[in-house]
């Protein structure tokens, strides 16, 4: 069956239609209904309760604050070793987010992906399988985030910027393969693949405008064949090689 035939057959599913009397009755029901919103907020007088608490605890507040600060410092310290699925992992994430202020956004997102890869390696080395599923989910979420940001990034049309992005992307691919070598199964990430395809196509367009050596021309043909075959990592590798020469 050709793709054209398949699409034609899919379109036959347009025959599926609702019952006409159901359509009419439903419309009447929806547009004539006025739902009741029942709001039952209990007004408890939070200000009064807070004032009372302050009154009771004001003498011990200074000591309680100091204790809390020490506990926090300890918690943040322990949290850095946590991995997804651990109790303190949420604290680690908060700490990571504070770094956003000091690092450019692009670098920050890449750093998060690398942090998640570090978590996965730690889990593999410690055989802590209960953390594997949450860690994979966190990794996939961070990868999707990077992919979305790169897809929207307009500076990627700048040749120098693309080279940097390609390098970062290739590094993530390499580290992901390293994590998989531990036997960890990571499913394809459709956002990442979509972004890779767009990025590789931009690079191919740039290469086609340049004067290339014979071996680079050959390499470009191979890159196009890799794209067709869905071998995005191999295509990226070849692009990096051409850019380095």
């Amino acid at each position: 069956m050709t793709e054209k035939d398949l699409i034609a057959k899919i379109k036959e599913l347009r025959q599926i239609k609702p019952r006409q009397n159901w359509v009419i009755l439903t419309k009447q029901k929806i547009l004539s209904e006025e739902p009741e919103f029942v709001r039952g907020w209990a007004s408890v007088g939070f200000k009064e309760i807070l004032a009372g608490m302050k009154f009771i605890f004001s003498h011990k507040l200074a000591f309680a604050t100091l204790t809390a600060i020490f506990v926090l410092i300890g918690t943040f310290g322990f949290a850095q070793n946590s991995v997804p699925g651990d109790l303190l992992y949420a604290v680690k994430k908060i700490t990571e987010q504070t770094q956003r202020t000091f690092i450019p956004e692009k670098e920050f997102n890449i750093k998060i992906v690398n942090n998640r890869l570090d978590d996965l390696i730690k889990i593999a080395q410690n055989n802590s399988f209960k953390n594997l599923a949450p860690a994979i989910n966190e990794f996939q979420a961070s990868v999707s985030e990077v992919a979305r940001k790169i897809a929207k990034d307009e500076t990627k049309n700048n040749p120098d910027e693309i080279k940097k992005i390609v390098k970062d992307v290739k590094n993530i691919e390499k580290r992901t393969i390293e994590v998989k070598s531990f036997g960890i199964q990571i499913d394809e990430n459709i956002e990442w693949d979509g972004m890779l395809v767009e990025l590789i196509k931009l690079q191919v367009q740039d290469l086609e405008k340049r004067t290339l050596l014979p071996e680079q021309i050959e390499s470009l043909k191979e890159i196009k064949a890799d794209i067709e075959a869905g071998k995005y990592s191999e295509a990226l590798e070849k692009i990096l090689e051409i850019n380095q020469n």
Partner: protein, 170 residues
Amino acid sequence: MNLQKEFSKIYDQYIDQIYRFVFIKVNSQEIAEDLASETFLRGWESFKKNHNGIDNPRAFLYQIARNLIIDHYREKGRAQLISVDTVPIVDPCPNLEEVTQIKSDFDLIKSALVNLNEDYQECIIWHYIDDLSIPEIARITNKSEGAVRVMLHRALKALKEEIENNHQEA
């Protein structure tokens, strides 16, 4: 323009599509009617509160329908009944042999589609049956346009393989 009149137009425009989308995924006329009806009811509630904020009613309704289907499966458990009896085909052809052939192809595609993963199913339904554009699908699924293109390509490939497997088993 009167809100009710405006939403009435939206209802008329998209009821068939939303029903069909839900029906293909739940494979039951009764459940499809319930969920489609709930989709428009919730759509109407949101429309009344903030109709200026809904710039793409179709995408908005699909998102509601999608969430309702997820909730439905969460509550009921995933039990896909491949029933081929409940499809109301409009305008059946008079020739019996043609009817049999058409019904056979139709059922083949429908059965194969139901066996794909959710993302692939939705892409195919939206793009090839409901004529949604890539940007519209990207918006509903909160994915990039590149990701949607890749997904469509893979969805068609997966559907083709599924149909070929079903053919061989038959």
